[in-house]
Structure formats: structure tokens, C-alpha cells
């Protein structure tokens, strides 16, 4: 399905129409308190949207974790080929440690809704697996998620900050995080690394992003 809907609100802010979010919100209508995990900063729209119901909103601003990626120094003597698997494992563990430090929630916390926005596109494979593993203890069988997945590396859809303006409207602000490294992947590859999540529905947007509604397996 191709979604071309895009508009601007009265203040000139870009607004993306979403056909998937209303279904997610409706499914969570009876949850109280609604437990929401947002990988980004809390912004005006998201707080206003959820502010009329009993909820707990966690804004983790995880992009700050990506500014200086972990560096794995090889212990192999100069001249010998490094073991790629060992390096991957070391990188995974370094990311896992970083995300676990960033995702410290009260014991027993289970999120109903995870707003990943476009965060997954900034994670390499090891970081993506580590993020999913660090988040896993705080999700349950009923947890839902929302993400924008980058399918084409030439799409001009990065450096954005998202907010939930209405059930069917997502606000977008440009941000300047420098020159972030990003990774375009097919949907199946992303979900294969997102422990426990599968794509429930997806919508291919004209701008090259795949909007995905996620649920736990």
C-alpha cells in the first residue's frame, strides 16, 4: 500500500498521516495506566495527546547513546586476521551494556506501547540486536510498537524528531544531530533482529519509509 499523505499544520510543522497508529491506540484504549516507551525526547504533541488519560510516559532520548559508538579494540597481534565473530560479539556486548544503562526502569515495568519512530535505522545489526535484548524485559505479550523502517539509503527522511499529535497524525520536526550513520534494511531483516516483535501491518510511504505496526510474538 502506498501512502502519500503528508501535510503541514497551522504552525507550518510537518504532519504525517498515519493509518496504523489509530489501530494501535484503539487496542490500548482500556489500558490504565497506559505504559508508553518513547525512544526520543518528549515533545509537546505527545504529552498533550496522552495527557487526558492515566498514563506513564518514558522518554529515553536514546539518540544521545549513538553519538559516540563503542569501539572494539582487537587483541589479536598485528598481522593476524581478526575473528569477525568475536568482534561482533564484543560489539554486541558493548551496545548491550550501553542500552541497559539507558533503559533502567522500575522492576516489573511492562510497556503497552513502544514508539520507536525512526530510531532503528540508526543502529547497525549488533546495536539493533542489543537494543532489542535490553528492551525485552520491559515488554510483554500484549506490547505493541510503531516504527519507521528505512528501505532505501537515498531517502531524505532522516534527522527528524517525531511526536504523536493525534491518533492519525504524527508531527515531524527537523533536528540537527550532526551526520548520523544510518542503515537501510528490508523489513524482514529488521524484525529478525527485534527480539520478540513481528510486523502486524505495514504501509510503504512515498518518501521511502516503511511505517510498521509491531506486536509481540
Amino acid at each position: 500500500m502506498l501512502n502519500t499523505a503528508e501535510q503541514f499544520d497551522n504552525s507550518g510543522k510537518q504532519v504525517l498521516q498515519t493509518r496504523l497508529m489509530p489501530d494501535l491506540i484503539e487496542q490500548l484504549a482500556g489500558n490504565s495506566p497506559l505504559m508508553v516507551f518513547d525512544v526520543g525526547y518528549g515533545v509537546h504533541e505527545t504529552v498533550e495527546f496522552f495527557g487526558n488519560r492515566r498514563c506513564r510516559l518514558h522518554f529515553s532520548a536514546l539518540h544521545t547513546c549513538l553519538q559516540t559508538p563503542p569501539v572494539i579494540r582487537s587483541k589479536i597481534p598485528f598481522g593476524q586476521l581478526p575473528n569477525a565473530d568475536e568482534q561482533d560479539t564484543a560489539l554486541y556486548l558493548a551496545w548491550l551494556d550501553r542500552f541497559r544503562s539507558a533503559l533502567k526502569f522500575e522492576q516489573g515495568t511492562r510497556f503497552d506501547l513502544c514508539l520507536f519512530w525512526d530510531f532503528l535505522n540508526y543502529l547497525d545489526d549488533q546495536a539493533l540486536k542489543a537494543f532489542a535484548d535490553a528492551l525485552a524485559p520491559f515488554t510483554g505479550p500484549q506490547t505493541l510498537g510503531h516504527a519507521y523502517i528505512l528501505l532505501k539509503s537515498d531517502a531524505d527522511v532522516l534527522k527528524r524528531e517525531y511526536g504523536l499529535k493525534a491518533a492519525d497524525q504524527i508531527s515531524v520536526r527537523p533536528v540537527n544531530p550532526g551526520s548520523p550513520v544510518f542503515y537501510a534494511r528490508p523489513q524482514a531483516r529488521v524484525t529478525s533482529m527485534m527480539k520478540g516483535f513481528v510486523v502486524k501491518h505495514s504501509v510503504l510511504r512515498r518518501d521511502g519509509l516503511l511505517e510498521a505496526a509491531l506486536k509481540r510474538t
Partner: protein, 159 residues
């Protein structure tokens, strides 16, 4: 030559500005308790406090506070120059400056774009102003709006 001052009102007595004075745009001296005038006491930008602040009037903090702030029935404003390293409780709270601590607004919490907050916010009504970005946790329970005391944060669901 003395006639021209005959209608002048007697000047008000000037008192030295205390650490906590009052906002008064009329340039006259402060006398009435802030709670009676609807104005706010001020903790000025050069003032540093370590300890517990509590009271029965509105307060604007432009200085530095380390400890706790409790104004259960009144308004608390953390001004742009304010730096508060404390847990704070008030009826309504507006944050323009820095807060490192947990924030409990019994009616409402307003966070402006100039704020810098590290901590958990608990309130029935929350407003993040346009341009503001928040990292942390917000507990919202609209059912407790205007209920006065007894507001408790939402508890996490059991595993």
C-alpha cells in the same frame, strides 16, 4: 514652591530586600504576604539555599536550591536562572530553569523550552510547551486534578 508637592501621597517605607522578596512591578516596596496579594516571593539569582524550603505562599526561584521544596497549596516557579537540586512539591509548578529531582505537581506542571530536567514528573495535568524537549518519566492521572491532597503516581503494572 512648596505647593507643588501638596497632593503627593506619603512615600512608602522602603525595607531592605530579603532573600525571599516579592515580585512587584509597581516599584513600591513589598509588604503584604505574597499569598494575600497573589504575587510570588522570590529567591533571587544570587541566593543559594541548602536545606528544606516550605511555605504558605507562591515562590519564584531564580537562585540555587539543594534539598527539598514543598509548597503544597501554592505555585512554584523555577525561573530561567534557577537551579534546583531537590525533590519539589507544589500545587502548580512551572519550570523554566534546571531541576534535578522528582517533581510532584498536585494540579499541574508546565515545562518550558528553556528548562533542563532530570527526574520524574508526577501530576494530574502536564503541559510541555512548544519547543520543549523532555527526557525522563511523566506520570499523569487526570482523575486526580483538583482533588487536593492524596495524589499518588500511577503504579507499574505487575509483570
Amino acid at each position: 514652591m512648596f505647593e507643588r508637592n501638596k497632593d503627593r501621597q506619603p512615600e512608602k517605607i522602603e525595607t531592605p530586600a530579603p532573600a525571599a522578596s516579592a515580585i512587584d512591578n509597581s516599584s513600591t516596596a513589598y509588604r503584604a504576604p505574597a499569598t494575600a496579594t497573589g504575587k510570588s516571593a522570590i529567591l533571587g539569582a544570587t541566593i543559594r539555599v541548602k536545606g528544606e524550603i516550605s511555605g504558605d505562599e507562591n515562590l519564584l526561584i531564580e537562585g540555587q536550591v539543594e534539598g527539598s521544596v514543598s509548597l503544597s497549596a501554592h505555585e512554584l516557579t523555577i525561573g530561567k536562572t534557577g537551579k534546583v537540586h531537590a525533590n519539589i512539591t507544589a500545587r502548580t509548578i512551572r519550570i523554566d530553569g534546571e531541576v534535578n529531582g522528582d517533581i510532584a505537581g498536585k494540579e499541574k506542571v508546565v515545562v518550558s523550552s528553556s528548562s533542563n530536567i532530570k527526574g520524574t514528573i508526577v501530576t494530574p495535568k502536564m503541559s510541555l510547551e512548544e519547543g520543549a524537549r523532555f527526557k525522563g518519566t511523566i506520570d499523569i492521572d487526570p482523575a486526580h486534578a483538583n482533588s487536593g491532597t492524596g495524589f499518588k503516581p500511577a503504579t507499574d503494572k505487575p509483570a
